[in-house]
């Protein structure tokens, strides 16, 4: 089991009701972790995956996860 911190932003944060949370997981990739979160936060199922960052670097959904990672789930951005 890995111990991670998951951060939710904007629409995701409103759906989950939390800005961040500690997570214990066997997920190997960011995509697996997001799918795992759907059962914990059913309201997330209204949204599909958009962008993910790991430890403040933009990442791929197939990026491997490591113990202690900070995983940031971003809904579609809308700056400007």
């Amino acid at each position: 089991m890995k111990q991670l911190t998951v951060h939710w932003f904007a629409a995701y944060r409103e759906a989950t009701g939390v800005a961040s949370e500690p997570v214990q997981t066997d997920a190997h990739t960011a995509a697996e972790l997001f799918d795992e979160m759907l059962s914990k936060h059913p309201a997330l199922s209204a949204y599909h995956r958009a962008l993910v960052a790991i430890n403040d670097e933009m990442a791929d959904w197939t990026s491997p996860l490591h113990d202690g990672d900070r995983v940031l789930f971003f809904p579609p951005v809308a700056g400007g």
């Binding site: 904007a10 809308a78 700056g79």
Partner: protein
């Protein structure tokens, strides 16, 4: 001057312009994104930007650096607002000065396009009918719902 900033206060446009002035430059292009009173047919009253600053700053500085490398320009700078904004306020300002205008136009366009696509910034619009919505998120939620009902 800081080439990229996230600011919770109004942009001082005169100071912004002054910081890009250079007697070797013959062209200066500015883009401002204003808070518009409508979006997809709905009347907007105000909006709020949520910014994840650590990554927005890193990506914003990288975009300015890319523009300085790709285009024959002298100076480039951008500011993006965070927090609540009223109608007509500048949400973002991008300024580029260069010896010649073609490079200034192209670099300014590059910077605003990249800012819109790459920065972890989210916009929540508050409508005249009392509702509010995260921009760009309605579509993904809808398509997901359609997928569910088809399943």
């Amino acid at each position: 001057m800081n080439p990229f900033e996230i600011s919770s206060r109004a942009v001082d446009l005169a100071a912004f312009r002054h910081s890009l002035a250079d007697p070797s430059c013959g062209g200066y292009v500015v883009f401002e994104g204003w808070v518009r009173d409508h979006n997809e047919g709905r009347a907007v009253q105000r909006l709020a930007y949520e910014v994840y600053e650590p990554l927005a700053m890193k990506e914003g500085l990288a975009i300015i650096q890319e523009a300085l490398e790709r285009f024959d320009i002298s100076h480039a700078r951008a500011v993006h607002r965070a927090g609540e904004l009223d109608l007509s306020e500048p949400a973002v300002a991008v300024g580029v000065s260069a010896a010649h205008r073609d490079a200034a136009f192209r670099a300014c366009r590059y910077i605003i396009d990249e800012i819109k696509h790459r920065l972890p910034i989210w916009k929540k619009e508050y409508y005249a009918d009392g509702t509010a919505e995260w921009v760009n998120c309605r579509q993904c939620a809808t398509s997901h719902a359609e997928h569910d009902s088809a399943a």
